[in-house]
Point group: D2
Chain length 357, copies 4
């Protein structure tokens, strides 16, 4: 253990710095002579050779800081292994820099896309340890990802804010929560915010069920309703389409996002006034919450232990309250989705929350 | 002082309940036999005769509650004095209910539109005391309105959240802040959030100045920039148009709001990636902040004193730290705008913040 | 399922109302005719016959409200089964009211003391379902209790606030965190707040180890240090005493709490200025955080399912992410403590955090 | 304008960095060659010659950071002009360093004590501009000081947290708020937190009035009461003592602070259970709130303008919403206290809040 490269890739989120601090503090504690390099702006830095020598003090005071002190960028590959716009072989470039810099290990923090590339690098001979970063909580092999709980807090706060307005004006409010493919964030924020209707990508909705739920509430004398809708919510109709057909249909959609379509349908079918709020990028920003800070610190410390023991090729996950190494090959390419039959869904459904199905 | 009607009108905001609590507690303290009625859902309740007898305990525990416990609705008049869709004379209906209910005074909480109607009722012989409610801070006759500081906090928090993402990804971020006609909220949130560029309705912008400011930042090695843009921000070009021309132009605009247009222009002219966040209705929701609670409590208490002294026809404002009665006739129909020559603007400009002018 | 009594007992905490809402909404959903009674101020209400009929609307809007809408009071027994100060047999009184009110089930929310009495009532023939409430997270049979995460947030926020002052002044700061017997809250807040030293009841400390850790930090050029100290932190010396000896020694202690003693020792041994902050009761107050709201909603919904299935004599716990019924007899009288050998402790220790051992 | 020294002195508070950022950004904007030095740890740094050259990037990203990036320490003089423990003439040492470093101006951020020394330095020939820093809001010549509103938020939050517990248990709760000599913080937090009784240093209390107010609440069926008590609250009895007598009496007091004494008296006289919470140093920590960030930015920018115009010997205050220069000689040695006859007190009193008088 001599030279370690840190790399953060994909959309930023709240607890990246806290996680890197956990890794770094443990490494320095084990060996004060360890050299840590920040590879700048994600895989770009590894491809084009941009890095920065980090010092112990760089990791002081960052436990509570959002974002990433070493920058990030999108996944480098749309198609795995493709060259860049100038024909550069990006995979080779990464392997070359890894060797040139004499790195003993790459510590890579990222989401699903990031893990595919990390697995590739591992297969090509790099020592790699990864950490599960995403507000979407959709990484296979861990019960929970860092960033998720902080994002739940922000999305819930958005619903809380909307609540008072909805109640005062007697309206239907839609809060659109991040999550194109998976609904964890919408599910948790929806429950925490007391949403009456929760629409997830994993449970296609029937607009008539949604309308019925709204009318039931009106009949009970309730003046307002709140919907938590995932960006990737999808109607049963659309779910039946092929990928191509759906893409074509969406392209023609007159609305900036699915929430607006749902809103228009509700307004038309119920006559109730509908308002839409999109907290958007706010959900991945700001301070990590205490839950994430503890999670990140533990995951980071456990990642450092793997490095110290020279156990490479793993992501560190949190399973049943314990940090565990999960082989990268098992993580890459899988998505952890909400199971419509999970007990959490059943419990909430039996409280009267509508999932539109 | 026997029978007092409370009425909240217009868009809700954070400290309406705290204000009504201030009025009610002071009235009950002065005379435990006072009868307070909540007129439901704004002027609608006064027009169509919906009210609710309030009890002292209704005003307990609401100091920290957002929204309004008596509901609200839009201003009843687009054109002052017009009848409703069934031909009902709304003004007469309000005066009739005022008499029928034997009210001694109406306490009306609302913004600019609300004050026009309040003034009309006052001129027609109703005893009226009003309170300046709006997140826009644009009511004439008071230094500050309740709701404003709470909204500043939320809009600032949105910028804070965006900050970490902007810094991590090296992007231009636009946060669109509420305010169609006035820029107080954008100005304060922009300063508090450390925005690099602030665009207000009162200071028409030149997109080239904005671009120049962004390029200057890039030249200084800064990887990201943040713009706080009011909903009602307007380019110099557009500001030169007649109302009609502008309306026509806006109708054809391909973007959901001005921020998207500005974003597209920046992206085109600088090649930098731009992201837009619209906290929207969140800005008027949630708990009132301590500043607003103190302000509301004081304004409410002072309004009660006017009622006790049977001094009607006034809005209670806060001027230089003191509660003052302002004649309704002076308030109605005026707008308190940001003066482009105000010292706050000069101070900030000389720090290097760009206003696009 | 006809008549259900709700009862909250022991110190209040943040998510009691959210939990009761989960139970009530599910019960009403299953059977709109169910009668729910709030038994007032904990077991007192059951002993002395005070209750209130609840309506569905009582459970609306309380998801985010701290405290308990039906009041609470201390455990009724210091010695299980003892009579009250007037000689009243409290156990009999509770059983009598249970019968008199024709209750089908008691839903009891409380901590360890509460569970002993709940188990007693169950053994005496009452139908009982319980829910694990405590900021201490020390209830056996569940991975997590509601209230805990909200309290972690507040205690962490206290450390965050202190951080800036400690850094500005270059001082040693002690934040005393709630927890007389168990250290979960201190452990999590300490990690989340970035404390340098964490002292728990389960890991007796040697003041010399603490001092050594502080001196090591000074030697590294760090100007300040932060200690998270549990109310029940105990020195190795004191841990070796008998209960009686310890009580006698503590009685003579010149300090209001252990933190002050530790502070005085540090000041004497290192010459550094020490400040102590005690957030105290704040830790159990305020809004439940989104994590707790989801947890509470799920636990409450699962408790209702047990009642619907007439499965009595259980506490609902959360184990590995699933709600599970745990026999009351297994829960009562046990304490879930921090295991000094747990991986969380090892992970943090290897980051260089000192536990004083 | 060439070489400027920044110095923060006295207890830290939330918006020191934001203020320095305002000064620095404006100075750099006016003249990119200006040299700014951070004089370390308050006047100590000026006395003993410790400073650090600052760069523009040091002032980036600190708008939201609590504490002070250049450190602080207590006022250097108990008696103005006294030498240090080694006989060093501290005044001379400061003047010598000022000359040796060829400073063109000192920018000093501090409270009342700090201003006495700043005035002394100004009288001795240094160019000085100061800024009003304190959570106490007791500096003469400005309507408001930075730090105050952030501290109000924290103290109010403490009361909010306590509220739910007080309501659940039916107890009397005392929240002790910072402020030895002045009550602004207690007054504002007390109003914002909905305290029933507010005790300030400026309005000596009669414990019997306090008890009467509590009993009145009990008689009205209210189960709990909350007192906001300033650290420096004083009974009428004690207020009548000479300084010496009071000091002697306080020394013998069995309680750690006045709140505990008041609590014991209430418990004895009413039989109600009393709990006390002391948020303490938390009140000066953490992030500055948006209000303070705007205030600090404006004050800082205005201070820079004075320097640019070589207008020395002033504190920058905020008066009726405008930044104004106030001669140091007018500021030094004065205290801005709460006037018991101020309209804010009258307004609140007539709502039924008890001030104990």
């Amino acid at each position: 253990m001599k030279r370690i490269g840190f790399l953060t890739s994909g959309g930023d989120c709240q607890s990246l710095n806290a996680t890197m601090r956990g890794v770094a503090k443990t490494l320095y504690q084990a060996n004060p002579d360890v050299e840590i390099y920040g590879i700048l702006e994600g895989y770009k830095g590894l491809i084009y050779g941009n890095r920065r020598k980090m010092e112990p003090k760089d990791f002081s005071g960052i436990l509570t800081e959002g974002g990433t002190i070493i920058g990030t960028s999108r996944q480098p590959f749309k198609k795995m292994g493709e060259p860049d716009e100038n024909g550069l072989d990006k995979v080779k470039a990464m392997l070359d820099n890894y060797k040139k810099w004499k790195l003993d290990c790459l510590v890579i923090l990222g989401g699903n896309g990031t893990h595919k590339t990390a697995n590739l690098l591992s297969e090509k001979g790099c020592n790699v340890v990864t950490l599960p970063k995403t507000i979407d909580n959709d990484i296979w092999g861990t019960d929970i990802t860092f960033g998720f709980q902080s994002a739940v807090n922000i999305a819930t706060n958005a619903i809380d804010c909307i609540h008072t307005t909805a109640a005062s004006h007697g309206r239907v409010f839609i809060v659109e929560v991040m999550g194109h493919k998976v609904g964890w964030l919408t599910l948790h924020a929806g429950i925490a915010g007391g949403a009456d209707i929760i629409l997830l990508p994993e449970i296609p909705y029937d607009i008539n069920s949604v309308v019925k739920a709204l009318e039931k509430r009106s009949a009970q004398g309730k003046r307002f309703s709140i919907l938590a809708v995932a960006e990737g919510a999808i109607s049963k109709e659309d779910a039946a389409l092929s990928k191509k057909e759906l893409k074509a249909k969406r392209k023609k959609m007159a609305y900036p996002s699915i929430s607006y379509e749902i809103g228009a349908q509700i307004q038309e079918k119920t006559g109730q006034e509908v308002r839409i709020t999109v907290p958007g990028h706010m959900q991945r920003g700001g301070e990590p919450c205490p839950y994430d800070r503890v999670l990140s610190t533990r995951l980071g410390a456990a990642a450092a232990q793997l490095i110290i023991k020279e156990k490479y090729g793993y992501m560190v996950g949190m399973v049943n309250g314990e940090t565990v190494p999960v082989p990268l090959s098992e993580v890459a390419g899988k998505l952890k989705m909400v199971d419509p039959k999970a007990s959490i869904i059943q419990e909430i459904k039996e409280m009267g929350i509508c999932f539109g199905d």
